[in-house]
Symmetry: D3
Subunit: 249 residues, 6 copies
């Protein structure tokens, strides 16, 4: 079992993102890593973040449809830079509406993609209700996709692990990372993807600093003996279900 | 980094056990797995469990020294059946005394063994104060062993992951497993080790049932597509520090 | 007050179950105990579990209506074996839809039955969203039924205690039992009820093992002096509201 | 089992109190109830509260030994008013020293008294370190007293339930009551006991108000149908171990 | 920054209350304090509490519309006594329906009022589902009002702190106060407001006792050196977001 | 009360630090702010961090006494740069020994200084046992210093608020900040103090990044309307006891 359980090389990566930019800042490294290894990687953006995460465009007097177009183009470019496919559900944001229809669309994605790993938001975020809403739908769809009795094309889903990526104010979101991912090897790809989002330029530095900080922590938790790079970059995640493995490490 | 981080083949396994039997019931599978893979495995029994876990012998009218001899012999046999070394600190139990001296002895073990993985008790156990006491000392010694400034022979320790093994009443001990280990391949070795502890024969069934139950859960969490054995056996663990890895899975 | 508060002999037991089988595995003993004591016991199955808990039937190529019929017949037989009435709301599962209409139907049940004790699912279950949905509706309906201003036939409800029964993976559902119920006296009735559910035969052993394990824990928590049976069987519950009593015990 | 498990009539009540007054304010009703029912009730005061809870006497210029005498006399009078025996360990307070010697003295009490119910402080109290220290020793001694291998006169202890009584600022001490005890029938005895502690006269009103407030909550949780007295008085407790019972109520 | 951050003198106070009486019992002091200082204070009552909190009127045989009128008049009188404006959304209670429409109405209030401080219910209340529903809507509306892209008249909202006021059974609602507000100076105004609610006369004493109890705790937490009044009255609150300040105190 | 409660201008700041460097990285801004306002500020270093936090010196082959001298000089320089007094208890580190003697020395400091605010470590830190040990002693000493019956020179202490400063890996230490302090005005002083610790030069950048990140969060939590500086710098704290105040803000 060891091999099957400890590698996801053959499987795909699915990212369920509330808004168009979230997947870049919070899991760009994980996506690029998967892609670099030959895994299929797919991002589902439930909305473009047109209302809640596009302050600069609104301040510049742009209109709703225009803003959605801009955000879409940026997100497509960023996904391409990371090596991922991207699909937009365009269900609107602020608030992101929770509905069975959207959950059902996600079931179709799960059934078609058969992801080996799933990434999404945290279930708590007092600063942004769209994030937990996206996470709840991603988790609910995963459960439904597993049931042979749920009517949808394709084979029932297995039990891919689900990880929450890091929210903006981690502690206020009860985000206690239990996995630190070394993204040093793909750091340039993540940087390139971030630069596809010029409206949030202040975030480039913010997430560069964060990657350094999580890198320092990764080295602290991995120990000094592994010969990790001085400039290790990392992303933090929370694994929702118990890890299954054939080897303790 | 992937390889270094996801395998512990070259490193040793250290188990810090409050009493002579704990390591068998709760982590016999993990120990046998490590040994079967060629890893060095070492058990430190802080006490023989002579007062708190030897009711049958006391009822039979045996004396303290005699009971300690019996427990020692049993634990040695069980360790041998699992492929592990064993060392007894003999500091007494009920209560297990916490002292810097004992912590310091554990530092020596860490420095000499340089374990890649550490197993011990949970930090909460309202039914048995010795278990958290052992865990506190195991964790404290690991920290001290990491410091170059701590005076003890050998090289400073790296940052081996620490896992709590399963307590008797998991929920009352706030034990929420975040790792399920497939021990099917070494199940016979664990059974053999359990049979080295004849005084606690009722535990044989209890821990066989538990291994089945955790096996069912492992399959549920791994998903049906991995082709796991019908009679999968598992042990549950709680990882204390964030997992560090080069790949999400 | 002591007597009134510590016995529920005169009152009824209400079980709110998401799917057709849940009440058997998780609270069959509690139901049989109540019935054996002459209490009225009633199970409300919100759905038949036709999509989410009938994998075997779907694999065998059965159709939706056929599956519902099978599950209904099984659940009726199991309820009869336990001595309980059963009512099916048939609102569909996977997902179990939350609606005020269903809550209102539950209010009617509360008002008519005037239960002395209520059993339902846990409020957390990352493996099955239907379970928390059922629990939320059961708890909400209890609150509404208490209000004289809520328009529904019958007298306002008192304040019956509510217990969550045990979920499949207790720790992952934050299920920390605070009550262990001795079901030894009705163990045969629970076994008979389980055998009414032939499609889930692997569960018979699973829940037999669990009853033994909870029985061992009950004896551990009750102490050796009560003369409990060697083969004590138990079910675990979580009490939601403070126990009210005239005597500490 | 029902009877044995739901009544403690034959057994004794043990209260482990850090200071001389704690048992009165926080569990005077529970003690009086037990005594009124013919149960033996015993209070162990680990200290007189001579330093930490005798501000008025210090302000009045009294000396240490004098203060201890006063507190002792008051506590003896209060215990008598409640119908309880009292023993003073006189180990000093502020801080209350934790030692194996004191734990061992408590083991002797457990072995001799064979209590059916144990009351003590909460394990958390950021305002008073003596309270958690007393609770830790009371819980540890209970574990040791259960072990036949622990050297002390008398029979091994069973598994009496342990309850924390209410701390001064409940929420700050993470005190979430799971049992409300109706003390209406013995309210006069508790009042009489409180009046034995004249130095803390402001507490009389405070704990009268609290008894009313907990009484209102008891009625709310018991429901309107039980015919409880308008002026119900109650004390709140936290049960540490799962309740074991033969009947849900 | 100190001044701007530590005073809210120029800003308004917004209270989002599920039912017509909640704001009086739980935050009457905070409202009167703000008004006495010249701040604008506004209460939004989502419902009149006509079904869930008007038992006396139903028992007296009154009709729905009549009850709503009574509750409205009482709440208006109480608001006037405190110096606050009041607006009724009249969305019905038991259950309080959660909808985007209601959230949107709250956004308008936020945008118009630009509150410096927001008060609402706790997010947990197992006794009353309307309270968390009100809190969720108040928090969600605050987030939406902050977004320039959210279509509503007025300027985007800043980031006013949000406080939960005290629920009826604090511990059961996981209410751990992190702020105690001295309301001694406006105690008479709160008393006058309470007396505007004659149907709940038993609550007058209850909340007077509570104000005393929280006052004692305020003095304990503030320390004896501040010269606080002997009869200090206080209300307890839970601050949801980190306090921002230019000075530790 | 408002004024007394919301300003600490007249009172002193006490910082209890496990090792010689902790107070600089984690609370240098808070100290400099207090000093800049004319408050007396005093740091107590329980140890020099000679074993656990001086890896570079040990690697360079320095001896224990020499290392202590270096660390002492550095800490004195840093304290001076911040405007604080400093006292060294020199009780040794790794492990930091907990004793009543050290607690008693801290009581003397409390009684003499009469601090208005206290800063120390978190109560949880799985990476460094010295930090919680220091926090436990600081909190215990504060309690003892409050008791008139505790024998020590000086007046009994009031109830100064206690804050934990930020640990290295916040989430792993269950550090959920509830206060963000604007240190922009004294940022240069903190930088100067950090440069007094040349052996940990990598920390300069690390804590500069952190101050920026907490600054961004402070602005997010304070709202855009306060006119805070673009380059706001902040430190994060956890307040242990309820804030007492005469005004909500």
């Amino acid at each position: 079992m060891t091999e099957a359980a400890t590698t996801a090389d053959q499987g795909a990566l699915l990212v369920v993102s509330a808004h168009a930019g979230d997947f870049v800042w919070r899991s760009g490294g994980a996506i690029a890593l998967a892609a670099s290894r030959g895994q299929r990687a797919k991002v589902v953006c439930l909305s473009y973040g047109e209302r809640g995460e596009s302050a600069k465009a609104w301040l510049a007097g742009k209109k709703l449809e225009e803003i959605k177009e801009i955000r879409r183009a940026e997100a497509e470019a960023a996904a391409a830079a990371l090596g991922a496919e991207i699909e937009f559900f365009d269900i609107g944001d602020y608030p992101l509406p929770e509905s069975h229809e959207t959950v059902d669309r996600l079931v179709l994605v799960y059934r078609e993609l058969q992801p080996a790993v799933v990434l999404t938001h945290t279930l708590v975020d007092p600063y942004n209700g769209d994030h937990p809403a996206a996470a709840r739908m991603a988790l609910q769809a995963r459960i439904l996709a597993q049931a042979i009795g749920y009517e949808a094309p394709g084979e029932p889903l297995g039990a891919p692990p689900v990880f929450s990526f890091e929210p903006h104010q981690s502690e206020q979101c009860d985000f206690k990372p239990n996995l630190l991912l070394d993204i040093t090897a793909v750091w340039e790809a993540k940087q390139a993807a971030m630069k596809c989002l010029p409206a949030q330029q202040h975030m480039w530095d913010y997430y560069t600093d964060l990657a350094k900080r999580r890198g320092v922590q990764l080295k602290r938790n991995a120990g000094p003996n592994l010969g990790l790079a001085v400039d290790t970059r990392a992303e933090a995640f929370f694994r929702h279900f118990p890890q299954t493995t054939g080897e303790l490490s």
